[in-house]
Subunit: 196 residues, 2 copies
C-alpha cells in the first residue's frame, strides 16, 4: 500500500480537487458531482481529492464539466489536479476503455460561458529530451483562442473555460501520442476578486 497505483493500458486519469471558496462549499461540490454524468469513467472520491479514470476524452469531458458547474454558481471556485496516462501500475477502471468516444457532458458544458485563468505544466516522464517535448506542445497552444503566457514552472492560459480545457486536452493528447507516461498538472480559477 506504500506505492503509487496507476495503469498498464492507455487508460487516462485525473486526480483533482474542486475548491469553492465559499461557506457553501459542500453543497457546490456535491451538486457539481451530481449534475455531471460520470458514467463513462471510474470514480473514487475521498476527503482530499477525486480520482477519475477512463478514456482520455471522457476524463477531460468530466473534469471540464465539474469545474464549470462549480464556477457557474458565481462563487470564487478553483480546481487543481494532475492528469496522467501510461503510468505503470494497477488496472482499476480498465473495463471502461471499451466505452465509445461519445462524450456525455459536452453539450451542457458548451452552453456555459465562463471566463477563467489557468496554469498548467506538462511532465513527459522517462525521457531525456523532455524539455523539447514540452516546448513543442506549448508552441502549439498559440492557436487555441486563449491568451497564452509564461509563468514560473507553468504556462498560463486566460479565456473561456471550454477553450482552456480544449487547449490542455490537445497539448496532453499530442504529448501522450509520443511519450508513454505523461502527467499534466493544472490549477484553474474563476470569479476571483483578484482578477484585473
Amino acid at each position: 500500500m506504500m506505492r503509487m497505483r496507476c495503469g498498464d493500458s492507455r487508460i487516462a486519469g485525473c486526480q483533482f480537487t474542486l475548491f469553492p471558496m465559499s461557506d457553501n462549499f459542500a453543497t457546490i461540490i456535491l451538486t457539481a458531482l451530481k449534475e455531471v454524468d460520470t458514467s463513462k469513467v471510474w470514480k473514487d472520491t475521498d476527503d482530499v481529492s477525486t480520482c477519475i479514470r477512463g478514456k482520455l476524452v471522457h476524463v477531460f469531458d468530466v473534469t471540464r464539466a465539474i469545474f464549470l458547474h462549480a464556477a457557474k454558481t458565481g462563487e470564487h471556485a478553483a480546481m487543481s489536479g494532475t492528469y496522467s496516462i501510461g503510468c505503470p501500475g494497477d488496472s482499476s477502471g480498465d473495463v471502461l476503455m471499451s466505452e465509445t468516444d461519445v462524450v456525455l457532458n459536452q453539450q451542457n458544458s458548451q452552453s456555459i460561458r465562463q471566463q477563467a485563468s489557468c496554469k498548467f505544466a506538462l511532465y513527459p516522464m522517462g525521457r531525456e529530451d523532455y524539455m523539447d517535448t514540452i516546448y513543442e506542445q506549448i508552441d502549439l497552444s498559440q492557436s487555441q483562442g486563449v491568451k497564452v503566457s509564461g509563468s514560473h514552472y507553468a504556462t498560463r492560459l486566460d479565456g473561456d473555460v471550454n477553450d482552456i480545457f480544449r487547449t490542455m486536452e490537445e497539448a496532453f493528447e499530442n504529448v501522450q501520442s509520443k511519450v508513454s507516461h505523461v502527467t499534466m498538472t493544472f490549477t484553474i480559477s474563476a470569479n476571483s476578486p483578484s482578477t484585473k
Copy 2:
C-alpha cells in the same frame, strides 16, 4: 513568453494556491501571507497562484507556515502546489541562494498542532529509471511518524501538518540529491467535514 521559466542553479521553488473554503477566503489568505516571514524567498502572487523561490529549506518553511496559518482558523482549508528544483530556465530570485539556512517560521509552525491529510507525487525528470527513484523515496516515508498509504497517482500521508511537510521535504531532498530536475505535486487538506 510562451515558455515555462525556471532556474539554472539549485534554487528550489513552489507554485502553490491556498484554498480556504469559506466566504472569508480573502482575509484568510491575506492574513496567512502577512503572518509568515517570507523575507528569505523570492515571491510573486497573482490571481491564480503564488510562486516562491529560494533555498529548498526556506521554500518548505514558508509553504508549511502559510498552510498552518490558514488551517488554524478552523475553517476547511486546502493547499495545492508543485515544488520544483533544477528546472532549466531563468534566474529570478537566484540572489536569495546566499541566505543562511536559518529558517524563520519553524518556531511558530511547531507551536501549531493541526491534523491534515495530503496526497503527493514525485516526478524525477529526464530519467528512464524514474519509477525506481520514486519507489526508493516512498519506501523512506515509512518511518516519518505519519500514516502512509497508496493512492492512484499519488502517495497519501495522514498526520500532523509539521510531520507531513517534513516527510515531503525529506523525500524531495533525497530525490533531488540524485536527479537534477525534480518536481513534486501535493494537495493537503485540513478541517474537512468529510474526514472520518
